[in-house]
Symmetry: C2
Subunit: 202 residues, 2 copies
């Protein structure tokens, strides 16, 4: 016997888009969410950049050559794609659709421009913008990561103001002042969105 | 120095409307929320019904005479009001507005028809419909409460189907199968709604 709730419950899972400026901690937040909550599936991105130490193909990213990537672009296989600092990044469409059609939530960690490209194709997604406590804290974090040189850090910082200006196009804003607090809040957003009434739009 | 998040954060608190059929447990859920979370303020309703044992004026309800109540109706002092089983019930407008303008969330526990009246005046509110696991369970709960006779229970049950048909007008649906689970889920909805981006509508 199906319950009253089942009638109105969404059959499909949600696409959760976690975005924000570089260095805001979206990668760490995403990892923590996946570590604690087995009911969320990570949307694996495709990239042409070289794998960092410990990164695994098909787990952290799908690592492709530029030729392979551009062939997929031609085949319209991406929900979004972009060239960032000489490398291509993209979100394989089929992967996300397979997960959500099984009723599972799929989480996508992506930069601001990419998120808004996804929104054009999947406006029903849940768009979360992660903000740093301040620009100063963001610079500190990027510098500490040590994967980028001074010129690259400066290039990234130039983009921050432009990115924050796009915040009003998102659904939710979570400040990453404290990692655990941010993770719990995003968990709440994910759970709350599951209880949204089917076909209901404000 | 104001943080980046402060710029986009809502200044006003949310009006959280907790609704659902009679006997679904919205009163118990509301009490639990208020017991554990001191950052939510209970919207005290006005009524002309007699106080039950232990109920306090200005805490559980504002208890008014019929004359007093109808005078307030004339003065447009209610967000909604209704006559239910020979008694009047209403939500004092000013009380809710004072709380939310101080940046606090205000929670309103109300029947289905009342909630939709509130929605007409406050469409920006967060409307949560609590559903029972089944109609059979709802009958069991109402009967167990023992505050109503058989005729009154039958009268209430007649309304249930009509009330559930109004569910698609709500934002969220929470099944009250397990009290603690329902309370935690509603807590999540409340927290998630606080992170919604100012002025953003899907």
């Amino acid at each position: 016997m199906s319950s009253i709730a089942d009638v109105y419950r969404k059959e499909k899972g949600n696409l959760i888009v976690l975005s924000g400026p570089s260095g805001v901690g979206k990668g760490t937040i995403c990892k923590e969410l996946l570590r604690y909550y087995s009911d969320i599936v990570y949307s694996i991105s495709a990239t042409t950049r070289k794998a960092r130490l410990g990164e695994v193909h098909g787990k952290d990213y799908f690592f492709y050559s530029k030729d392979e990537f551009l062939k997929m672009v031609e085949e319209d296989a991406f929900l979004e794609w972009a060239k960032v600092y000489d490398n291509y990044y993209g979100t394989p469409k089929l992967f996300v659709e397979e997960i959500t059609s099984r009723g599972k939530d799929c989480i996508l960690e992506i930069d601001v421009q990419g998120a808004l490209q996804v929104k054009e194709r999947k406006p029903e997604g849940v768009f979360i913008f992660i903000v740093p406590p301040s620009k100063e804290e963001l610079i500190r974090r990027i510098t500490c990561r040590g994967t980028e040189n001074e010129k690259e850090v400066a290039k990234r910082m130039e983009k921050v103001d432009d990115e924050i200006a796009l915040l009003p196009q998102y659904d939710y804003m979570v400040e990453n002042d404290n990692l655990q607090k941010a993770v719990e809040l995003i968990r709440c957003i994910i759970l709350a969105e599951r209880t949204r009434i089917h076909n209901h739009k404000k």
